[in-house]
């Protein structure tokens, strides 16, 4: 049972730092850009000490201009570098939306592969940390809808590092979402050095035959809590942690739903246009005749993420998830 790989016990955000460090070490072309990522090490310390280690021209404190430095990152990527860009909070990615969806995600197709954008955009997302408004958005769907960029989101330190390295090695742009609510809430054994967690593959966090629960990122602990609670009542849930939001692992979903016939999807984002509906479409397309109940989605409401005085009401809770599980069981 011994392994040659050294492990460290790290929080999720430390695992990200470790992943960045590993890749800065490994590839000279890796270059970090973002607000406050240098001396300050990032507002969440995700780039802690990396500027000291790799210099001001590889870990760059940019001016406060998301469109500008994402655009500049595209120029660097096209010209041989591997930029990893930190957007301080996902809600501040909107000014860079044009650069991302008209260039990062279209350059390969526009030039039939002549110019490519091997870039990673990291962004903490989600509510639940009592942050001011706009700091709490969970708007993966505005990226998963736009072809040409992959979107991933880990829920634990091990996956965080491995997925990040996979994203950096991916030849296409990847949006790497970081569940800030889990940044320091869990510690995990994380192998030293380089390893990857495959983009496009989900993982089962629990096996069960009655209901399929699908979630990712910061919703995983909520879903696990609900799954454990209903287990006491004899309901066995299968919990799928998506990890990749585009392209979603449709095979694992189909396999699970064809077994259970009942599905609950949980996400923080708004219901309308949320990934819950994409997952429903996968089920519709692959497992229509296996469905024993409508697919339930437990989501953030179709309202802007409210000020934090209201956020406990806004976010999906184990309570709401349990209610949905019971609903699909009773149907």
């Amino acid at each position: 049972m011994q392994t040659a790989v050294k492990v460290k016990t790290l929080t999720l955000v430390q695992a990200i730092t470790d992943g960045l460090d590993t890749m800065l070490q490994e590839k000279e072309e890796v270059i970090l850009l973002g607000e406050d990522i240098g001396k300050n090490g990032g507002v969440f310390r995700a780039t802690d000490k990396l500027q000291d280690k790799y210099g001001e021209d590889r870990v760059i404190d940019t001016p406060l201009s998301e469109a500008g430095f994402v655009g500049a990152g595209i120029g660097m990527a096209v010209n041989g570098f591997l930029p990893i860009i930190e957007i301080q909070f996902l809600g501040f990615i909107y000014p860079a939306y044009e650069q991302i969806v008209t260039h990062a995600s279209r350059l390969r197709m526009r030039t039939m592969g002549h110019f490519t954008v091997p870039m990673v955009i990291r962004a903490p997302y989600g509510a639940g940390v009592r942050a001011p408004e706009i700091h709490c958005d969970s708007t993966e769907a505005i990226f998963t809808h736009m072809p040409g960029i992959k979107v991933v989101c880990p829920s634990n330190p091990y996956d965080a590092k491995g997925l990040l390295i996979a994203a950096i090695e991916d030849p296409d742009p990847v949006l790497f979402l970081e569940p800030m609510r889990l940044y320091r809430s869990v510690r995990d054994e994380v192998p030293d050095g380089k390893y990857t967690v495959e983009i496009g593959k989900a993982k089962k966090r629990m096996e069960g035959e009655h209901v399929t629960l699908i979630a990712w990122g910061a919703m995983i602990p909520e879903v696990m809590e609900a799954a454990k609670a209903v287990k006491e009542k004899g309901i066995n849930c299968e919990v799928i942690d998506l990890l990749t939001l585009f392209p979603i692992d449709k095979d694992m979903i189909a396999e699970s739903v064809q077994k259970t016939g009942r599905t609950v999807v949980v996400h923080e984002a708004h219901a309308t246009g949320g990934l819950g509906n994409d997952i429903l479409a996968i089920i519709n397309d692959t497992s229509f005749l296996y469905q024993k109940a409508p697919v339930e989605r437990v989501t953030g409401f179709d309202a802007p993420v409210p000020y934090f005085g209201f956020e406990d009401h806004y976010l999906p809770t184990p309570e709401r998830i349990k209610h949905a599980i019971e609903k699909v069981i009773k149907f």
Binding site: G68, P132, D302, G309, E311, H313, E319
Partner: protein, 356 residues
């Protein structure tokens, strides 16, 4: 070079001595005392807010200590009916312009109620996405001009904000439309941890006005008199159809970016202490008052006590405020809820049994 073209204007110096004697006459005792009072008032508020945050009684808070002269001077220059577009660090200015202290605390406690200004006060909610309020101010100002009023708008923003496209687009729009707006920049020389030298290649922010052919003025942001008189003059020009002005108030924040920030990571703490010792904007006006023989210990004590009382009252009010009603998540998305919202509200209230 540009520093010479845009010298820092100063009416009183750090020692509270007059630097531009031509202003002397306008610098009445009443005005100076009002400045002092407002500065004490908002500093008291600011310090209290930090301590509330430490005690977990409000959320993350963005302090402005050190920037009181800029905020008080500029806000006092506004007239009834003008529009204010503050950022998360300009609640000092908002309070001076008439915002309610308890509402401001509510904002920092994660309550939308904190965004509602008192009746008749055109104060926008604090801008969170950097620089986005700048085009709003241009538009609101244009609206005043269009309807023939003489009201104007002021937009606050930091040094870091000047890097955003919205700064450029907003100022350009205002310059073309001759919108009556003052772009009031508080250059506290850092955007969180990023010093101005990494934010821009220019040595001043005032010089950015040249790109739009509008007046650009660089002032000592720790001199409340300059902040007041220059804002007043820019507003006057705006009201008279002279279009926008960019004012750069050079200042410094003594504290952290927000209560979640640790400035020791990126800023020389010794320099910080020195700055505070040498150039506290409140001390400066206090020195002026003393030099002019207008300072009176018991008056100052009263001012401070009144400020404490007012702030304590506001804290009480904030804490007595009814707790967040989840209905408010659903009830203000649209004038009339869409079916999605109505359904989600019903389901949620059914689940929590109508209880909050």
């Amino acid at each position: 070079m540009m520093e010479n073209q845009f010298p820092i204007r100063q009416i009183i110096d750090v020692n509270g001595k007059i630097a531009l004697p031509e202003y002397k006459e306008k610098m009445t005792a009443e005005l100076a005392k009002k400045f002092y009072k407002q500065m004490i008032r908002i500093r008291t508020f600011d310090r209290k807010a930090i301590s509330l945050q430490r005690q977990g009684r409000i959320g993350t808070y963005a302090p402005f200590e050190g920037q009181e002269a800029a905020q008080v001077g500029s806000a006092m220059a506004l007239a009834e009916g003008d529009w204010m577009f503050p950022t998360y660090r300009d609640h000092g200015a908002a309070i001076v312009f008439g915002h309610s202290l308890s509402k401001v605390l509510l904002f920092w406690n994660g309550r939308n109620e904190g965004c509602i200004p008192p009746k008749g006060k055109n104060i926008f909610p604090p801008g969170i996405p950097i620089a986005t309020q700048i085009p709003h101010a241009a538009g609101a100002a244009y609206a005043e001009r269009k309807r023939g009023s003489t009201s104007a708008a002021i937009a606050y923003f930091g040094d870091g904000a000047t890097s955003e496209g919205d700064f450029h687009e907003g100022v350009n729009f205002a310059s073309v439309m001759r919108a009556p707006v003052v772009f009031f920049n508080q250059n506290n020389q850092f955007a969180i941890s990023v010093p101005i030298s990494k934010q821009m290649n220019s040595k001043t922010i005032a010089q950015k006005a040249l790109a739009y052919d509008i007046p650009g003025i660089r002032i000592d942001g720790n001199d409340v008199f300059t902040a007041y008189f220059e804002t007043l003059q820019a507003l006057e020009r705006a009201r008279n159809g002279g279009g926008p002005t960019l004012i750069e108030a050079v200042t410094w924040r003594y504290g952290a970016h927000t209560t979640s920030d640790d400035p020791a990571k990126y800023r020389d703490q010794v320099e910080n202490v020195k700055r505070r010792e040498e150039d506290d904007p409140i001390i400066r006006v206090e020195r002026w008052l003393k030099n002019e023989g207008l300072y009176d210990e018991s008056w100052a004590t009263t001012v401070k006590e009144e400020a404490i009382t007012e702030v304590e009252e506001a804290v009480k009010e904030m804490e007595a405020f009814p707790k967040a009603d989840p209905a408010d998540i659903f009830d203000h998305v649209f004038a009339e809820p869409t079916w999605q919202i109505a359904k989600q509200k019903k389901e949620y209230f059914d689940l929590i049994g109508g209880e909050i």
